[in-house]
Every structure is written in C-alpha cells, then in structure tokens.
Symmetry: C2
Subunit: 436 residues, 2 copies
C-alpha cells in the first residue's frame, strides 16, 4: 500500500473521457491506498478545444499508438464501438502487457472471450465497471459480492435512454390535452434535442445497448463466454402510448427489461419491453435511472438502483477500476480461466414460460369477446384479466387481456390464430409481463 503512480493513457475524450480527465486533474490522489494516477497521453478524433486543458499531455492521433506506448501502465478505452479502432487499441494494449479499463459494452459483449484470453496470456487486468449501469457498481456486485454464491438470474433496467423515453411517454398521459399521434417519435425527438438520446438512436431504442450489458452480466454471473449472438432482443420503438395507457389501467408500467436466467436446460438472455406492476421496484425506476436484481441461491435477491449514465457517474466508475488496479487485486476477466470460457447453451425461447399482455383492435359488434376467448382456449392460453375500453374512434375497439404463464410458442400461436379472426382488425400486440 505504498506510494505508487499509475500512468494512464486515455483514448476518447467525449462525455466520459472528459469527465475522467477533469476528475483526475482535481484529485489525482483519490485512491485510498495512497497512490497517484498520472495522465500521460490522450487521444481523440479531434484536437479541437475543450472545456478542460489537455495541453500538458502527450497527444496521439492513433489510439493504437497510445495503447502501445511504453510510458503507460494502463490504457483507458472510452471510444466505443465493438470493432475498429477501439478493438485494435485494446488488443494492442493487452498484448503490450498493459492493463485495460474500458466502458465499451459492445466490444466486451462481442469480443469478450478473446480479449479475456489475451489479457490472461499477458498477465494483465481487463476491467469494465463503467460498461454497465454507469456509476452504479453492477459489475462489482455480480463479480465480487456474489462470488461465493450460485447466481440464478440477473435482470433489470440497463438502458437509461429507453427508461427516460418510457417515463416521458407515460407523463404525456397525465398532461391532458391531445397526445401526439406518434408519442414515441415525439418523445425521442425531444430526448435527442436535450442530449438524452443519440442522433442515431438505434443502439439504445432497439434494445442493443441493454443486450450488450446483459450479455456481459450473464458471462460474469454464469462464468461463461459472452454470447451476444444468443440474446433475444426487442426494443421499445414499437411501444405505443395506447399500450402505456392500457398497461397502467391494468396496474402496470412498461419498462425495457433485460434478463439473464440460468436453468437446468441452459441460459436465457433476453431484452423485451415488459410490464412491471405499479409499486414494483422496476416500475418505480423512473427517468434515466437503472436498476438490477441479482438472485443467488444462497444470498437471495439483491436489488440495486442508481444512475446508469452521465459524465460524472461513469467517469467515477472508470476511476473505481483504476483504484482497484492500485490495490493489486487480480481476477480472471469473466470469473473463470479464459481457457474454460465457453458460450452458454441458450434455452429455446419456445419453452420459456411467459405471462403476456395481448392488445388487439376488434370490430365493434356482438360476439367479439366470445370469439377471442374461444380462440385463446383452443390455443391453450388461460386468461388472467380482461379489459375492454370504450370506443375511441370508428377504427375499432381496443381490447386487452393478460394471460397466465404459458410457453412462448403457444402464445405466438395464439397471436396468429387471433389475427386470423375476421373480427380482429390488426395483428395483436404482445408484451411480456416481467416475472422478477
């Protein structure tokens, strides 16, 4: 625990990188063990002026050159992207015997196993607390607090942009006046305007960012290679204001829920817009917050909630990794020797039991409900609750129901059968009910 200096190179000077530089300028001695973090070099797309001074650091146009520079001990990768320069630079750093700290969830979700092997071969650490839930220590929790337990599932809200959009869409319901026809589009545009959503929002609203994160948590929780290909991904771009309203009438809120569950038959990793009951911690996680349940065989359920993004919190997570390095702690990247990391066997979603919300638009005529309920009974789907709303316009009557737990394949078959009914005007919308 003596004085030591950790010499870092930082690639990427956007929100998180900038936050880190500012934090380290103010408190280079933040680590309690008594050492100091010294920024040696920086690298970014442009050398343009910033609201912090980088003139005292060596400038690199090429992140790979920074990653391999003999003067650094740790390469901090805050560029993003699963491939391209981020991957090349991280590989260079690891193979040059430097520790890597990164916030890059896409890189880890897609290439995690290979990078873990490279880190192990070079006897260095690869840390990524900032990749999941920003300043909220999801990685540390799954990796260290549950280390003596057998984790059964990790599930929660891992994308703040989606949660912000869903929260704002619900707020439209309470504002009175006419809600915009395309509520999702309107809220997204406003989120982009204030910087809560990217210009290209696909990674967030398409569910891919949450899927990267749950893939990493699944690897840590189940000691396996990250297996992004096996994730089932649905975003929030098809969530309509009508669904948010009907869900609330039934006592639920819609949240983008990412989950990884281990059972005897394998692992299921999924991202879906899902209904969480009002009062449930996921339903009560609002705005840009993130939340996670971790369930262990022995410890039971731990719930953690906090900021999922933002300059300060995410930079603090990167700094926590640097502090960890300074304690001398060494751990296998994904909790097991790299040679033993194999992708988990994915459970067939068809066999997954799910409670569903089904919303359909039907003709306003007698016998409709009977037709729908008979069809569901024939498909072997049991109804839990049923709600018919007054006619909204001449286009049809929305009816919505929730089911008891049913295999997904049966539910999808039921949806097809309902869609085929002459009284049903469009393909029923199915949302899952979170079982957390």
């Amino acid at each position: 625990m003596g004085q030591q200096t950790l010499r870092v190179g930082i690639a990427g000077l956007g929100t998180v990188g900038g936050g880190l530089v500012k934090m380290l300028q103010k408190r280079p001695d933040f680590a309690p063990a008594g050492g100091v973090v010294e920024i040696v070099g920086v690298c970014a797309r442009s050398k343009a002026a910033r609201n912090f001074d980088i003139s005292r650091y060596r400038w690199f146009d090429d992140p790979v050159a920074l990653a391999g520079d003999p003067d650094i001990d740790v390469f901090v990768e805050l560029m993003g992207g699963s491939d391209g320069p981020a991957k090349a630079a991280v590989e260079k750093a690891l193979s040059s015997g430097k520790h890597v700290v990164t916030a890059n969830k896409a890189l880890l979700a897609v290439h995690g196993a290979a990078l873990a092997a490279l880190a192990e071969a070079n006897d260095v650490s690869l840390l990524f607390e900032a990749a999941v839930m920003g300043g909220t220590p999801a990685i540390k929790l799954v990796r260290e607090a549950m280390v003596a337990d057998e984790i059964r599932s990790v599930a929660g809200i891992l994308n703040g942009t989606c949660n912000y959009i869903l929260t704002e869409m619900e707020a439209l319901l309470d504002q009175g006046g006419q809600a915009p026809k395309d509520a999702f589009g309107a809220v997204l545009a406003e989120a982009q305007r204030i910087g809560y959503a990217e210009a290209d929002p696909t990674t967030d609203v398409g569910g891919f960012d949450a899927a990267h994160k749950i893939t990493i948590l699944a690897a840590l929780a189940f000691n396996c290679a990250p297996n992004f290909e096996a994730a089932e991904i649905e975003g929030i771009d098809q969530v309509e204001l009508l669904d948010i309203k009907l869900a609330r009438d039934l006592g639920y809120r819609i949240r983008l829920v990412a989950s990884a569950t281990r059972s005897d038959s394998g692992v299921s990793v999924r991202v879906h817009p899902s209904l969480a009951p009002l009062g449930h911690p996921l339903a009560e996680t609002k705005g840009g917050l993130n939340a996670l349940f971790i369930e262990g065989k022995t410890i039971g359920r731990i719930f953690i909630q906090g900021a999922g993004a933002g300059e300060g919190p995410t930079a603090a997570a990167v700094a926590a990794d640097l502090a960890d390095l300074m304690t001398g702690a060494r751990r296998p990247v994904f909790q097991a020797p790299a040679a033993t990391l194999t992708p988990f066997s994915a459970v067939d979603a068809a066999h997954t039991m799910t409670r569903a919300y089904l919303r359909m638009l039907v003709k306003d005529q007698p016998g409709v409900i009977a037709a729908v309920s008979e069809t569901l009974a024939e498909a072997n789907v049991s109804i839990d609750s049923f709600l018919q709303k007054p006619v909204q316009d001449a286009g049809g009557v929305p009816i919505v129901l929730t089911t008891h737990a049913t295999p997904e394949s049966v539910l999808l078959d039921a949806v097809r059968r309902i869609e085929a009914l002459p009284v049903v005007l469009e393909r029923p919308k199915m949302l899952r009910i979170a079982q957390i």
Copy 2:
C-alpha cells in the same frame, strides 16, 4: 492468479460460523482466481455435536491460541462482542501477521481505529463485509464503488430484527380482531420464539446494532475513525401500534432508520424510528430485509436492498472477503492510513433540521386544537398536516400532526410546552420523518 491455499482458523461456530464451515466443505475452491480455502482449526464455546462435521479440524478451546497459530493465514472471527475474547483474539491475529475477517460490528464500531492501526503496523488486512447488511455488500459499495466520489450521506435500514417487528406490528392492523394491548411485546415474543430475535433483544430493539453498523459505514464513507460514542441512538421499544396506525393514516410507515450525514459543520450519526412515506423504498423494505441509500456528490444516489442476516447470506459475505484476500487486494481498513484516522466532529443535534410527527392525547373538549396550534406557533413550529381521530375510549382523544422542517431543539421545546398544557394528558410522542 495461480493456485494458492488460504489456511483459515474459524472462531465461533454459531449460525454464521456453521454456515461458513458447511459452505467451505462443499466448495473450498469457490474463489474464481483458482485457489482453495482450507480450514485448519476451529474454536467455539462448546465441542457439542453439530449438524456438520468438524472432526477433521484442529480444535481450540482458546480463540487467542487459534488466532496465533502458525498454521493459519487468516483468522475468521465470528464470536461477537465488542470486548473480551473476540477483541483479544483479533488483536493476537493481527499482531501475529495474520489477516482477519470478521462479522463483528460492535468490535469495529468501538475499537475500529486501534485495530486498523494494528493491521497496518503488521501489514495485514482487516475485512468485515459480513458486519453490515449480511450478504448485501454495503461495505464493498461504500468502500470501492464510491471510491472516486465524495460521499455525503449513507442512510437506511440496517437491523432486520427491528424491521421484522415493525412489519409484523403493522400486519396486526390488518388482521381484524383486537390487537394485543402491548403489540410490541407480543410481536417481539413471537420473534424470539421463531429465532428472529435474541433472548436478550436489547442490542437489536434498542437500536445499538444499527448504530454499530452505521458507525462503521460512516467511518468508511467519511474516512474517519469509527466514533460510536457520538451516535445518537433511539430504538423501537417505544413504538406503539397506535403510532403505526396513525402514521399509516397520514401516508407513512415507521422504520428504524440509521443515517450518517456529512455537512460543513461536521458529521451526524443517528438511529431513530422514523416515518417513511408509503411507496418510498424504505417504507417498502419489509420483514427481515435491509436497505441502504448512499449519496455521492458525483454519482448521486445509489440504493441497495437485500438480506441483512441469515446463515447463508452472512457466510457468503465472509467468503467474499476471503475471495478478496485471494485476489491480492490490499486496502487501508477505513480508506485512509491509520495514522490519519481521527474521530469526526459530531454535529450538535440541536441544529439539525427535522420534520416531526407529534402524537398527543388530549381532553375531549372544545378549544383543544386551538390551544395546541397556538403553542406550536409560539414555539415557532409550523404545522404541515393535522389528523384528529374519533374518540377511542374515555381516556382522551389522540391527535397527531406533522411539522415542516424545524431545528430539533425547537421541536423539543415545543414538546415541553405542549406537555404543560392543561388539556394535554401525557407527554407528546415525537417521531422523526425520514428525509432520504
């Protein structure tokens, strides 16, 4: 990260010690770094038969002898008690150059600074994840996740026995029939019968256990010496069913809230039965669960909830500390070199701003409410809400009110003035409203 064996001696074979032995017998190789934990010796008050086999370990009658035994690397202290054999054994272990893992909150709250100095002088670790919130990693969170942040407050529910009793008391309200006259006593007796409360419940229901825990968290959060003497402690033994009912009528639940807050004028460490609004995560923390808010200047608020006690979860927390040792991580015990650890300067509670719940029993006659409100106005206390319940019996009418934020000294003065009114039949009961 090669193969290593950590040789441990375990003193105390009660719930947690027994859980740990069973866990290590099943999975001695649980640590992901690849090492093995080997139990060398054990020690307990009695050698009586247990539901696990200890015949293969060396038996010690004296924990100090086990602590100093040359064959162990780590002394695991699970005996409890702030002084006596636990203290002597931990001191012996540290001064013999052995790491110590303990679940003993009383020991750390009272003697933490001296033990930290001893650990540092002998270049060994002193770890205590299991001392606070059992299997829920409160220590790790405050110590490691917030390491780059400036923590402003830690506050939550840290005693599962009290939370169980308060939850069960509230359940009495919903059961119909006549609630027992002494609801607290009845629920406590039942809790003792099923093993949720100790035969001598003072440490738990008197608030001392929660105070030990918040003292430790305050030391970690604010990098100071644990200062148990400075904690203001009130237990739940004076909480009446009537208060639980009236609080609920006003939209609150009563919880034993422990908090440590840093301000410019110093640190305030307190344990009080407090009102949390229905829907608030503390109000929704039920039964034996624990919950904690940590607020950092940069990261904002992190909330964590989980099991606060129990054989499995607490043993898993001890094992997590053993796993941490095996990573080679070394940290100052309370986040700062022992020589710099000084007790924080305690804030004068008189200046603390508090919102209060005041419940009084008054004569059933005109002018009573006017008299009470005038007295409060004279004392400079501003009323937020007011509730008068129908007469319960001939003994008087209960009235209850909540105040806006007021200095505690002003509130206590107001309580004295109200008590002196001829229409008031007994000393008003004051509870604080949690401001978390």
